[in-house]
């Protein structure tokens, strides 16, 4: 194969947007948790457990974690694109990150809904 410089994948906008939207979601969640921690001093196990057993907080936590994984995906891919030049290794690295993040997402579900 001729070694041409190939560009023109016609994507990128969505990832850029995802990075920004997920950053906002994470910022809001962190503010919420920080607010909770500041208003519940000293913190007892019961407060913590009550908070995380509410369905709304569970969903918010799930959104936070999914945002984190999507954000991490965009960031990790950026790093691979800049520093990992051989296409084969880059593909393997990207696929490993995707698979790990999917596994983390499933694990997150189990943890969030497992809190008693």
């Amino acid at each position: 194969m001729v070694n041409r410089i190939v560009t023109g994948a016609h994507y990128g906008m969505r990832d850029w947007l995802v990075q920004r939207v997920t950053a906002v979601v994470m910022a809001l969640y962190i503010l919420f948790i920080a607010g909770f921690l500041l208003t519940h001093q000293p913190l007892h196990y019961a407060d913590w457990s009550n908070l995380l057993q509410s369905q709304l907080v569970r969903l918010a936590s799930l959104l936070f974690l999914l945002s984190l994984y999507l954000h991490a995906w965009v960031g990790m891919r950026d790093i691979f694109m800049d520093y990992v030049k051989p296409v084969g290794i880059r593909l393997v690295a990207e696929v490993s990150v995707i698979l790990s993040l999917i596994a983390y997402a499933a694990w997150s579900l189990q943890i969030l809904w497992g809190i008693q």
């Binding site: 994507y11 906008m13 950026d78 694109m81």
Partner: protein
């Protein structure tokens, strides 16, 4: 004044080295380029590019004390000694302070830096309203000195694929031009994870631009237009 200048002749030197020069001068109102020319009078083997000597041609862009700039508009009195001069980073060195900017020009050419307009040629100039003309302020002033692109890590890592701040500023200059009719093609040409989205808005381009331009803002406007047509 003491200068440390990067010297490298690929034909005779195994490795680049820094050479010290001393000038017995008073900085006063002198620009860095004046000093470089005095050094060149001392040692004519020193290679450097310069032309207009007033910040218009962009030939004498170099890395001055770790920061890209034009020697001709950098006051000598503002520089800390020893003044370290190196070629623009990340580009192949032709000799001493002269680099090969082929990659930079290739990226510039890839954004089609000319007006694309299919209408029949008018008898007079293609007119613009003063407001439309204002859109080009902060864009048309770029002199392609390459200070910004060669200070951009994304351009260092992917100079063959990332257009770079200078090229993207120029791309937006034509997207913003009311007389240009190729906006959709121009956006298609840039919608790519490498060509446009290697920019992570770290703004070193804005920091070094000797003309005070803001490539990051221009890149932001391109992203805004892509967003507008996506959502």
């Amino acid at each position: 004044m003491r200068f440390l200048i990067y010297r490298y002749n690929p034909e005779t030197d195994a490795k680049p080295y820094m050479q010290a020069y001393d000038l017995d001068i008073d900085a006063g109102n002198m620009m860095l380029l004046d000093a470089i020319l005095l050094i060149k009078a001392q040692d004519e083997t020193l290679s450097v590019r310069r032309s207009c000597r007033e910040g218009v041609c962009g030939s004498d862009a170099m890395n001055i004390n770790g920061r890209n700039g034009l020697a001709c508009v950098t006051p000598l009195s503002e520089l800390k000694e020893p003044i370290e001069l190196r070629p623009l980073p990340g580009q192949p060195v032709v000799r001493d302070l002269v680099v090969d900017l082929s990659q930079f020009y290739k990226q510039y050419r890839s954004i089609k830096p000319y007006l694309i307009n299919g209408d029949p040629e008018p008898e007079i100039e293609r007119l613009q309203s003063p407001e439309d003309r204002e859109e080009l302020d902060g864009l048309y002033e770029c002199i392609l000195c390459a200070c910004c692109s060669t200070s951009c890590p994304s351009f260092w890592w992917n100079p063959d694929k990332f257009v770079g701040p200078a090229g993207l500023l120029q791309a937006y200059r034509f997207i913003a031009d009311s007389r240009d009719q190729a906006t959709a093609e121009r956006l298609d040409n840039l919608e790519d994870p490498y060509r446009l989205f290697r920019c992570h808005s770290i703004m070193t381009c804005v920091d070094v631009c000797p003309k005070g331009l803001n490539p990051t803002r221009a890149i932001g406007k391109i992203k805004e237009m892509l967003l507008k047509r996506t959502v």
